[in-house]
C-alpha cells in the first residue's frame, strides 16, 4: 500500500534533494562531467559579495512586504467580514490577482510603473507631484516590487483571515460591548488574540512566499538597478541557468533553505511565546 507513495517520495522528493546535495560538492556546467571540489562552493558563498547583496535585498523585501501584506490583508478581511453591499463581489475581486499568472501581472505593473509613460506617474504629475522612478531608482525599486507583490497575493491571505474571523463567536463581542469595550479595544483585545493561529500561518506563508521572490525582479528589473532588486532566487537562477554553475546554484539553494527554516522557526517561536 505504501509503494506508490514511496515511489513518489523517492522520485519527486528524495532524489532531487540527494542529487542537489551531491551537486554542492561539485563543479558542473551540465555539459561536462562533474568535477569534485569538496566544500569550495560553500566557502565561495560566504566570500561572494553578490550573495550578501541578494540576501540583504531579500530581507529588505521581506521587511516591507510582510507587514504590508499582513496589515492590508487584515484590514480588508475585517472590512469584508462586515455586512457591506456587494460583499461577494469584493471577496472575488481581491482574490482575482492570486489566480492570474504572475508574469501577466508583472508585465502589467511594469507598464504602470514606467517612469516616462506609466499611468502612476501621469496621475502623480496631474496633481502637481513630482514623478517617481519606480523601477529605475535603486532606493525605490524594491519597495515598488513589494507593493506589487502585496497586491498580487493579498487575496489569498484575506480569505485565510476571513475564515479565522468567522470562527470567533459573536457572544464574545457582545459580552465585551456590554462591558463597555469599544470597537478598537475589541479589535486589539479580542480579534487579534483569537486570530493568532491564522496570523501565524499568514506570516509564515508570506515569509516563505517572500523568500521565493523571483518573477517580479526577473521580468521588471532584471535584478537592477545596481543589483538593488537582485533577490536570492534570481541570483540562484542566474548562477544555474545563465552561467550554468549548477554546483554553486545548488549550494546557494541549500543556504537559502537553511535561512528560510531558521527565520520561520524564529517567527513561530516568537508568535507562540507571545500567545502563551
Amino acid at each position: 500500500m505504501v509503494a506508490p507513495y514511496l515511489v513518489h517520495f523517492l522520485v519527486i522528493t528524495a532524489f532531487p534533494i540527494i542529487f542537489s546535495m551531491v551537486l554542492t560538492l561539485h563543479r558542473w556546467n551540465l555539459l561536462s562531467p562533474m568535477q569534485w571540489i569538496g566544500a569550495t562552493n560553500f566557502s565561495t558563498v560566504f566570500s561572494d559579495p553578490l550573495f550578501w547583496k541578494s540576501l540583504w535585498n531579500t530581507f529588505r523585501f521581506l521587511g516591507i512586504h510582510i507587514p504590508l501584506q499582513v496589515g492590508s490583508a487584515l484590514i480588508l478581511a475585517v472590512i469584508l467580514n462586515q455586512k457591506i453591499q456587494a460583499r461577494g463581489f469584493f471577496r472575488a475581486a481581491f482574490f482575482l490577482p492570486v489566480v492570474v499568472s504572475g508574469v501577466v501581472v508583472t508585465i502589467l505593473w511594469k507598464q504602470l510603473y514606467s517612469t516616462d509613460t506609466g499611468l502612476l506617474n501621469s496621475l502623480l504629475m496631474s496633481v502637481g507631484l513630482e514623478r517617481v522612478e519606480w523601477l529605475t531608482s535603486p532606493a525605490i525599486a524594491m519597495p515598488a516590487i513589494a507593493i506589487m507583490a502585496t497586491w498580487k497575493n493579498v487575496g489569498l491571505y484575506v480569505i485565510l483571515l476571513l475564515s479565522g474571523l468567522q470562527t470567533i463567536p459573536k457572544q464574545v463581542y457582545e459580552a465585551a460591548t456590554l462591558d463597555g469595550a469599544g470597537k478598537i479595544s475589541q479589535f486589539f483585545n479580542i480579534t487579534i488574540p483569537m486570530l493568532n493561529p491564522i496570523l501565524l500561518s499568514v506570516i509564515i506563508l508570506s515569509t516563505i512566499n517572500g523568500f521565493s521572490l523571483f518573477i517580479e525582479p526577473y521580468v521588471m528589473t532584471g535584478g537592477g538597478p545596481l543589483n538593488s532588486t537582485l533577490s536570492m532566487n534570481l541570483y540562484i537562477y542566474n548562477q544555474g541557468f545563465a552561467f550554468y554553475k549548477m554546483g554553486y546554484a545548488a549550494t546557494l539553494g541549500f543556504v537559502l533553505a537553511g535561512i528560510v527554516f531558521a527565520v520561520v522557526l524564529l517567527e513561530r517561536r516568537y508568535i507562540e511565546s507571545d500567545t502563551t
Partner: protein, 445 residues
C-alpha cells in the same frame, strides 16, 4: 468465490496486460534512427518560411537523404533549449541560428562537429566568407565548429523627420558631434523638467546580452574592431573603454538617454532621434510606418574621434552547427552546403532581410537586384566586412554579466567612477580567463 463472468474475463485481462507490458517495453527502447536528418531553425516566421522552402526543395530530389525541420522548441532562450537537448541527447542533426558565443561551451562538451574534418570545408569557407571575418569563427584549437551563415550588423538608425524639424543636416561622426546635437533634438513638451524625446534608448536592464546593443558595439567601433581580448589577454584597461563609458555616462547624466523602461517602441513613435539596431528593424519600420518609413536612415556609429578608415560594429552573427550525435555527418554537411548556396543565400535575403556572410554579396549579380530595390540594405552590406563577433570563451555569459554590472554602475547610474569600473572589468574578467586557462591545461593533462 469469484463471479463466473469475471473468471471468464481473466485470460483476456492477462493478455491485455501482457500486450500492454510488451508495448511499454518496446516504447522504452531507443527507436532505430530513420535515414533522415532533423533540422532546427529559429522561431521567427521569416526564418521558418525560409527553412520550409529550402527543405521542400531539398526533399524534392529523392536521391538525397530526407530532411525534416522544425523551429527550435519553445523555451526561455534557444541556448537553454539547446543545452537541454545536449544533456538529454535529443539534439537535432543540424541547427541554424546559433550564437557563436556559446560554441566554445558546446565544443568543450564534444557536442558539435569540427566542420574542418570535411575535405571541401576549406574551399567552401574561403570561397564564401570574407577573409577579414574567417578567423573570428575559428576556435582556439584551430577547428571550425560552426559554418558562418548570416549577420545583422548593428548600425545607427536615425529619424530623418526629427532631424529635419530640428534643422540638423549633418549626422554625428564623433561623440562630441553627437552630444552637441542633443540639445537641438531632445524636447520637453510639457515643461515638467524632463525630456519627452531622447537621443538614444539603450535598454537599462542589467541583462548580459543587452550589452551587445550598446556598450560592446560602441567599444568595437571605438577600437576599430577589437574585441575584449587580444591573444587570450583581456584588453579592457585602455582609453577607448573609458571613452565609451564616459560617453554613456554623460548622456544619461544630461537626460539625453532615458533612464526608463518602455513597453512600446518609442523610435516608431517619433520620440527617439537615433536607435542602434540591425537590418531587421527596417522591416518593422516598413510595416508600422508604411507611409513615411523613407525618412528613417542608417549611418555609422559615432566614435570618440573622427579617425580614419571604416567604422566597425558588432556583426551579431548567427551560424550553423552539426551536432556530434548525428549518424549522418557527411549528409548533414551536404545539406549545410545546400543551405548556404548562392541561390539559398538570395532566398535568405528575400525572405528574412538578413545578410548572408558572403564576400561577393555586393559584387555578384545574383544579389544586385535585391540591393537595387532596398538601398538601405546596401549600407548594412557595406558594414558587413567591418564587423566583429565575440571572443572565444566558455565563460562568455559571465564576462558580459561583469561588463553589464560595471557599465550599469559607471554609466547608467554614475554610482562608480569610470576608472574604477574599468579596473574592475579588467580584474574580474582576467580572473575568469585565468580560470579557463587552468581548466584547459588540466584537461590537456
Amino acid at each position: 468465490m469469484p463471479h463466473p463472468d469475471s473468471r471468464s474475463a481473466l485470460p483476456l485481462i492477462r493478455w491485455i496486460s501482457l500486450l500492454a507490458g510488451l508495448g511499454l517495453v518496446l516504447s522504452c527502447r531507443p527507436p532505430d534512427r530513420a535515414y533522415q536528418l532533423t533540422y532546427w531553425c529559429a522561431t521567427n516566421p521569416f526564418e521558418v518560411e525560409f527553412a520550409r522552402q529550402i527543405v521542400d526543395e531539398w526533399n524534392a530530389d529523392t536521391t538525397r537523404i530526407p530532411v525534416i525541420f522544425q523551429p527550435v522548441p519553445g523555451g526561455q532562450s534557444s541556448e537553454e533549449v539547446i543545452i537541454a537537448a545536449i544533456v538529454g541527447k535529443t539534439t537535432p542533426d543540424i541547427y541554424s541560428n546559433i550564437w557563436p558565443g556559446v560554441i566554445e561551451q558546446y565544443r568543450d562538451a564534444g557536442a558539435v562537429l569540427d566542420l574542418s574534418q570535411f575535405a571541401d570545408f576549406d574551399s567552401v569557407l574561403t570561397s564564401r566568407v570574407p577573409a577579414s571575418l574567417r578567423d573570428g569563427f575559428r576556435s582556439p584549437d584551430g577547428g571550425y565548429y560552426q559554418m558562418p551563415w548570416k549577420a545583422n550588423p548593428l548600425m545607427l538608425y536615425y529619424n530623418g523627420k526629427l532631424l529635419a524639424e530640428a534643422g540638423v543636416d549633418t549626422l554625428p561622426v564623433t561623440y562630441a558631434d553627437f552630444i552637441a546635437l542633443a540639445p537641438r533634438l531632445v524636447q520637453d513638451f510639457n515643461g515638467d523638467g524632463h525630456f519627452d524625446t531622447w537621443m538614444l534608448d539603450p535598454n537599462i536592464l542589467p541583462k548580459w546580452w543587452e550589452r551587445f546593443f550598446d556598450f560592446y558595439t560602441f567599444l568595437i567601433a571605438a577600437t576599430d574592431g577589437e574585441t575584449l581580448m587580444q591573444d587570450g589577454v583581456v584588453n579592457l584597461d585602455r582609453p577607448e573603454t573609458r571613452q565609451v563609458l564616459n560617453f554613456f555616462r554623460e548622456n544619461y547624466a544630461a537626460g539625453y538617454f532615458p533612464r526608463s523602461l518602455f513597453q512600446e517602441e518609442i523610435f516608431l513613435l517619433d520620440k527617439l532621434a537615433f536607435k542602434v539596431s540591425g537590418p531587421w528593424l527596417m522591416r518593422h519600420l516598413q510595416r508600422y510606418r508604411p507611409d513615411d518609413y523613407q525618412h528613417y536612415g542608417v549611418t555609422n556609429l559615432p566614435r570618440p574621434t573622427a579617425g580614419e578608415g571604416p567604422v566597425h560594429s558588432y556583426g551579431d552573427p548567427k551560424n550553423i552547427v552539426i551536432f556530434s550525435t548525428t549518424p549522418y555527418p557527411a549528409e548533414a554537411w551536404e545539406f549545410v552546403k545546400f543551405m548556404t548556396s548562392k541561390a539559398n543565400d538570395r532566398r535568405l535575403l528575400d525572405i528574412t532581410d538578413q545578410l548572408p556572410v558572403r564576400k561577393d554579396l555586393q559584387s555578384d549579380p545574383a544579389f544586385s537586384s535585391y540591393f537595387a530595390e532596398r538601398p538601405i540594405m546596401r549600407q548594412f552590406a557595406d558594414q558587413l566586412p567591418y564587423t566583429s563577433g565575440t571572443d572565444h570563451s566558455i565563460y562568455l555569459q559571465e564576462i558580459f554579466d561583469i561588463l553589464s554590472q560595471e557599465y550599469d554602475a559607471a554609466s547608467v547610474y554614475a554610482a562608480r567612477p569610470v576608472d574604477e569600473a574599468v579596473a574592475n572589468m579588467q580584474r574580474r574578467i582576467s580572473k575568469l580567463v585565468a580560470r579557463e586557462h587552468i581548466r584547459s591545461a588540466e584537461a590537456q593533462d
